[in-house]
Symmetry: C2
Subunit: 204 residues, 2 copies
């Protein structure tokens, strides 16, 4: 099952995706060729397209993988836990800033975020990013269905929850990238999920 082959494939996939992101953030989307990405990952250009159908998909792959970890995290929550508490917990564990954020030299973080902003502004990317979210949302719907005793094949409810959660994550992320001095992602996520769970009455 998890032989050398599988692990090597996952490593190549991760290397390609990471190289695609790193180069794009540094140079800009159109200044990075598939050839560059393949070279940075140590494979042939043809192999790149064995893993990803497009540059955009390679860049989105990290988002997809992370979203899938959220689904796994949700499945790992205790069965008795209330749905929305479990969802929030799954997100907060999966979106915790990794150690590399602390390690990086001061200033590098701002530079990185600025590069991300430029990258995510690229129309050719936005679609694929959203698609990654949608694919993950479909899998999330399965997990929600299991947890709530609904049927992902017949009921709207689990899909509605998954799509709303996905939308909330996206809104929080864009809010984070839009703001000059943003609130921490953690708080934004919690707020968004809480509001979705409780309903969205107009303020005041």
């Amino acid at each position: 099952m998890s032989g050398l082959r599988e692990r090597k494939k996952a490593a190549t996939r991760a290397a390609l995706s990471w190289a695609a992101i790193r180069l794009t953030v540094a140079r800009g989307y159109h200044a990075v060729l598939v050839e560059d990405i393949a070279q940075a990952a140590g494979v042939s250009p043809r192999t790149f397209n064995n893993y990803f159908a497009s540059k955009a998909e390679a860049i989105s792959a990290r988002h997809l993988d992370r979203s899938r970890r959220v689904v796994d995290a949700l499945r790992a929550r205790p069965a008795g836990e209330p749905l929305w508490r479990a969802i929030e917990a799954a997100f907060l564990t999966s979106w915790a800033p990794g150690p590399e954020v602390e390690q990086s030299p001061p200033g590098a973080h701002e530079e990185w975020v600025a590069g991300l902003r430029v990258m995510l502004a690229e129309p050719a990317l936005q679609g694929e990013m959203l698609r990654a979210g949608a694919v993950a949302a479909a899998e999330l719907a399965e997990a929600v269905a299991e947890r709530t005793g609904t049927d992902a094949g017949r009921d709207l409810y689990p899909h509605l929850v998954a799509a709303a959660v996905n939308a909330g994550v996206g809104a929080a992320m864009r809010h984070f990238l839009r703001a000059e001095r943003p609130e921490p992602m953690e708080r934004l996520l919690s707020d968004a999920l809480a509001q979705l769970a409780a309903g969205l009455p107009p303020p005041r």
Copy 2:
């Protein structure tokens, strides 16, 4: 403002988008060349790319235009009307089945829906469709902000509402296309919006 030029441009855009959809539903995404679409719309292939950056964008353009009409419809609702009632009304007027549904010969409708299913299953399209929704959602957020006295530049709320509504529409649409004998789109939409407005507690 609305001189001959503007109208002609809108007409060409609509013709290209419609030709792209029609041909793709009939033959399949990869069997339709940009050249075919341009010819069907009576313009040169080069002109196609003056209007759309890609085949996928051309196909998504109808979705985008319809979503924009929803935003306009929302703005046209009376200012005193409660937010969620206004949103629902805006959708129901914009998504009402047009006269062409009735006119078409029996059987043609099923064939069309089947073709749509195949078309929307195309990965290369899904991203662009989602992006169209996201673009419309950003504009919807503006309208929601105006109506609720929030600030689209600083508050999360209007974006959260718009993203959730967008997600609800998507979930309803996929549910519609998934089901064998689907409920009418109108009911699905209303249900989804009502649940989003009221919150999404687990059933039972």
